[in-house]
Symmetry: C2
Subunit: 398 residues, 2 copies
């Protein structure tokens, strides 16, 4: 046998990868996009010799006002790419602050994903290209040379919802090899999200690994359940197969999820080495998950010492009747009287839920229910929720 | 507080999702693509009013010959989409056999990902849209209403490579709640792959869940390590951050991986409830992973009772000198003399490694080393490797 049976990288590439690879094989320029430069400017490239105009849109560009049937709104800005003689379009950004950014190209009016970038995340039914400018706060989002926790996708039984459900669990470094018991943060997603959202969009495992390694957060287990009661698992991971995800699943804010939440706590406390008292339980969530956290924490008013409302939706639809949503003031008072360590509220200045947050805080003031309030720039966006997690997690279980 | 603080789905969608969503908001047609019909034809749609031609390419279309600098090769076929008055291009396939398929659009010569399909998989540096035609063998690839195993991504210490490495582990239904010990399949990826490949491209967890539920495969733990010794984790999951993945990492076929493989076995046997004898260990891999399986199984010639070579690369580069690759015949004879239950070889008729397989089987015949040989249609593709897994896994630990 001779070395002719060696791998031929090109050959395999061709067979497996097909058309994208052909370009690389047959002399077209090799595209690297995005390319992050040392000064934190970023160059985006697209090989599109036949295109007339190529633009980029993304959250690293200044927003622009657009008119919609719902009034004037802010939308991510756009920038034009320039074409070189080889048909490669490119654009270089200004120096960017540390952050996880997303973007898409617009080729002759068609919004497309960057074919040279394999790092994409799904938000509801859209897939975006992402990149990270490290340094500062964004160092929390990067995989660093620190001990790493474990991320597990498994299924649990929810008698309250009469189904088996998928759940994502982060266990901190040392959990598997040790004997210690750990506190638990239940971390909930927003509408359109699922048990993958905090891992993919929230960079949960990177953030926790880094905060724990720096001694900023206590080692804890983070439990990320699916908050859509009609969905056993994230799109593509359940019995419905591959379908187009929708923004709002049915019955997500009608009390069923809150009523069945003890299934999750019981599952975790029966299957993990966790501390099972109120002092060692936290619950937090973004948007709809903030709504769930608010109601779960007062419906089970002696269960959580730590509550986090990240850009929370506050009140249920007045057309929904569920006893879970009755007696709001009384149950909040009970929660207050039972005592807790932290009731943390984060909200962006331009969040469309901002005013509801003002009203809710007024109610808490009226009841005399203590809370910590953090107001950020920006609106109802993952950028803020990652920030809130980085602020909130270190306050837990101290 | 009024219900004005209710969720406004459209509003949130707009802020979070940006431009793709605008189309949906402002009266453009809602695109569902792909749409699988009851007769297993599939319609693909793209909203691109300004495009001149839109084609689709994918592995469900007949291949076509293309001329390359490397000679004439088969490439995935193409089909033209037709445009309607709203600017929606569409194409409906013939009725398709059960399979997991991939595709891309080509818009005026530019290869793009389907913006309406969130189900994508990465193969090396390319991202493809996928869909599954269920029924028949492809029912193994779907999430069914059966007990589900657990998929864990964690990090282990490899003293042999002097690094912490990421690894993916499937534990079968009942593992976490029971006390039984399980046999272990070590399942290796090919060049350009990593510890995510068998989960994403190989549908490993769905296949194992379904085979186990049908009683076809024994409950087993499947360990999917990273076979690139210079890469601690899959692209994006390690210290190198986000970079463009390449087909062949350095030092993957120079003996280092095989030499350090006991680190993985030790880690698994120290951390999981597994049976730790030869009868309960299997090793298999595709392409480069078949190469690794061949050499690991004879280098540790009394360790595995089951070996699977899926479209395996066979021999190392003659320029590589590693004692692992010395004495091929002698070590194979030792492996034979030590005995084993199954040495399984799968190969596609049009695989570019086909001839090397012929030569290797001649060598095994010469040595008198028993093996089972399965020859399939097709070449060096994931479709075959999923098939081989479905055939191979039921033969293990019986």
């Amino acid at each position: 046998m001779k070395s002719r049976i060696l791998f031929s990288g090109l050959y395999i590439l061709f067979f497996n990868i097909g058309l994208n690879a052909q370009q690389a094989l047959w002399g077209a320029p090799e595209i690297v996009s995005p390319e992050i430069h040392e000064n934190n400017t970023v160059t985006f490239c697209l090989l599109a010799p036949d295109a007339d105009t190529v633009k980029i849109t993304g959250d690293f560009l200044s927003t622009e006002k657009v008119n919609t049937p719902y009034g004037s709104m802010d939308a991510p800005g756009k920038a034009l790419l320039e074409k070189d003689e080889k048909g490669v379009w490119s654009y270089t950004s200004e120096a960017l602050d540390p952050e996880l950014y997303n973007y898409s190209f617009i080729v002759d009016g068609l919004s497309i994903s960057d074919p040279a970038n394999v790092y994409k995340i799904r938000d509801v039914a859209s897939v975006f290209d992402i990149f990270i400018i490290g340094g500062g706060k964004a160092d929390n989002y990067l995989v660093k040379d620190v001990p790493h926790g474990t991320v597990t996708r498994r299924w649990y039984d929810s008698p309250g919802l009469d189904m088996k459900r998928r759940i994502t669990i982060y266990t901190p470094p040392g959990y598997e090899s040790g004997k210690d018991k750990y506190p638990v943060l239940y971390l909930l997603h927003g509408a359109g999200g699922d048990e993958e959202a905090w891992i993919a969009l929230g960079r949960l495992s990177q953030i926790m690994d880094n905060l724990i390694a720096q001694g900023k957060a206590k080692p804890m287990i983070v439990v990320m359940p699916n908050g859509n009661v009609t969905q056993v698992a994230a799109p593509g991971e359940g019995l419905r197969g591959f379908y187009k995800p929708q923004f709002m699943e049915p019955r997500t804010m009608n009390g069923e999820y809150e009523a069945a939440f003890t299934d999750i706590i019981k599952f975790i406390e029966a299957n993990y080495r966790v501390k099972t008292d109120k002092r060692n339980r936290a619950i937090a969530g973004l948007s709809m998950g903030g709504f769930h956290s608010l109601h779960i924490s007062r419906y089970y008013p002696n269960t959580f010492d730590y509550v986090g409302l990240f850009s929370a939706a506050i009140l249920p639809n007045k057309n929904v009747s569920s006893k879970i949503y009755e007696n709001l003031d009384e149950t909040l008072k009970t929660q207050k009287d039972n005592g807790y360590k932290l009731y943390w509220i984060g909200m962006g200045k331009t969040d469309f839920l901002y005013e509801s947050g003002v009203e809710y805080r007024a109610k808490l003031d009226e009841i005399g229910m203590p809370y910590e309030y953090y107001e950020s720039e920006g609106g109802h966006i993952w950028r803020n929720w990652r920030d809130y997690l980085v602020i909130f997690a270190p306050k837990l279980f101290q």
